[in-house]
Amino acid sequence: MWKLILFIPAFLSSQVLAASAERDWGIGAGIEARARQDVNPEYVESRALPQVFAQYRRYWPWAVTLEAGYERMDSSSGGFTINSESYILSAWARHEFARRLHLSPYVSAGLGMQFDRIHAKFRNASTDRTGRSGLMGMGVGVAHMFEKWVLMEAEARGLANEDRKDISFVAVLRLGVVL
């Protein structure tokens, strides 16, 4: 039911979008520096994560960015190890305050999911599990386009993960091309 309710307006809107003529796509890659609470919440853990993105714009000043990120954590103590991988998919809507041929500041808001694969091992015992959690965030950034096809963006975000109960602070740098 949930999915049906979500799908109908999305389908209708995609029909409207299909009728439009003026649009552009951008794709590229980025690096995300994420600072979040450690297991001891007095300390901050920082990580750098790679990401790829696709961006669609039709009605300036609005745009949508889809992002896919990846994180790997390997940890151990004695003979006990846990290797976890996370795939992070998110969709971000943004409102830009100036055309991108200029330095264009924007605000963004997004939702996403983190899909985790966890492999834990101790001696002959092991377990493989998958899990997931929701993400939501808001950010501010600045975009600039060079030569009408090279896109460069920098963004700062606050990101909440429903299974962390804290806010991660994220800095994203993206480089892409406009198609």
Binding site: F7, G78, A91, I118, D163
Partner: protein, 396 residues
């Protein structure tokens, strides 16, 4: 008019962006999980295997504070105890609502809490919980400024702070933080502290300052005690009783005789191991043995000796409980009841007589029926004089 059109277009655009975002999420098949969170079941390394473990006394799985314990990770210790906030594990939720720690530190912190929840239930079931305060405060991966044998591969109970510290584990076996036997052993020191050391220290404090340079109660101060005095030597004897009781408590709680081999394969503290007679402290540390040995070495030998003698005490209690109708839990309950009387019995002699390691045996077994198997264990450990004096029923 243009303004109205612009606004209408703007609203439509916002709706399109929102619906596209929702479409993306619905295609992921995951929108339904955005309202969920971890429950009370976790996949943890539990007694050497990965199991689903339920934890019921945490208000939130994202903050390790509950009725049983407060868990601190890599936290500083001050004179008031651990400072800072309790540990917050990183978790991932599986489709059936069970949560899995994303890294070893999170897993260890959660496992320590889960173990202390079992200890809390165990103590409550037997009425032991009234001896000490709850929730217990436990730190893992605690960095101490001390010698390597204290800083690594060890766990400590700090009596003045009433906290447990598990320090980093650098060997290849089971980390101490997920070794239930080690945690129960350290927890048992809090019982011994409450029943024996604190009351005894209160009884003798009129004759010696309570706090030495090490900021420990006199009875616990192995580093500064006077080795030429009965009191100084008695501290090592009392330490051996403390260690022996802690091993026995942990073995009853864990229902195993082998508490430490998963973490320390070369340490021989299996309680089902060979019994041998208790040593006699004054003879063991006679002047001839002290000659040519510097004081630091001597203290280390005596401390090692108190662990060895503690193992003998724990093995004796374990063997006595093996075929006893009251079982190991019955004997543990009896021992805990009897420990309360030890300060009154021994405080007067603390400064004048060196206790024997075996002195505690008749005190804790007083009133407990010994089986034939138990008598055989006693005969292998205590002196003939003590057998005749305190365990005459074994001769019949």
């Amino acid at each position: 008019m243009q303004s109205i059109i612009y606004r209408r277009h703007g609203l439509q655009n916002i709706m399109r962006l929102i619906s596209s975002t929702l479409l993306f999420l619905s295609l992921c098949g995951c929108a339904g999980s955005l309202t969920g969170e971890c429950g009370d079941k976790f996949i943890l390394l539990w007694n050497g295997e990965f199991r689903e473990v339920q934890v019921t006394t945490l208000a939130s799985p994202y903050e390790l504070r509950g009725a049983a314990a407060e868990i601190y990770y890599n936290a500083p210790i001050r004179y008031e105890g651990y400072t800072g906030r309790v540990a917050r594990p990183k978790l991932s939720r599986t489709g059936d609502g069970v949560c899995v720690p994303l890294d070893v530190n999170s897993s260890m912190a959660l496992t320590v809490y889960a173990q202390f929840e079992r200890i809390y239930e165990f103590d409550r079931r037997h009425g032991f919980h009234q001896n000490i305060s709850w929730p217990r405060k436990v730190g893992i991966e605690i960095n101490l400024s001390a010698t390597p044998d204290i800083r690594f591969n060890n766990a400590h109970y700090f009596s003045l702070l009433d906290v447990i510290a598990v320090v980093p584990y650098t060997q290849s076996g089971l980390p101490l933080a997920v070794n239930g036997g080690v945690l129960a052993h350290e927890h048992a020191h809090a019982h011994f502290q409450s029943l024996v050391i604190t009351p005894m220290n209160r009884l003798i404090r009129g004759r010696q300052p309570y706090v030495r340079p090490s900021l420990k109660p006199v009875i616990e101060d192995l580093e500064n005690s006077n080795l030429d005095s009965p009191a100084g030597l008695n501290n090592f004897v009392i330490r051996s009783w403390n260690e022996g009781f802690a091993d026995f408590y942990a073995s009853v709680f864990q229902k195993t005789s082998d508490l430490f081999s998963d973490s320390f394969p070369h340490v021989d503290r299996d309680l089902s191991g060979r019994l041998r007679p208790f040593k006699s402290l004054p003879g063991h540390l006679g002047p001839t043995q002290m000659e040519g040995v510097n004081e630091t070495t001597l203290r280390r030998r005596m401390r090692d000796s108190s662990y060895d003698e503690g193992t003998i005490l724990a093995r004796l209690l374990y063997h006595i409980s093996i075929d006893h109708p009251k079982g190991a839990e019955g004997l543990l309950k009896h021992v805990l009841d009897r420990l309360k009387d030890i300060p009154n019995i021994l405080a007067d002699d603390y400064y004048t007589r060196v206790f024997a390691y075996e002195d505690i045996v008749p005190l804790v077994l007083d009133g407990f029926e010994i089986t034939k198997f138990g008598c055989a264990a006693l005969e292998q450990t205590v002196s003939a004089e003590m057998m005749a004096r305190s365990f005459s029923q074994c001769g019949n």
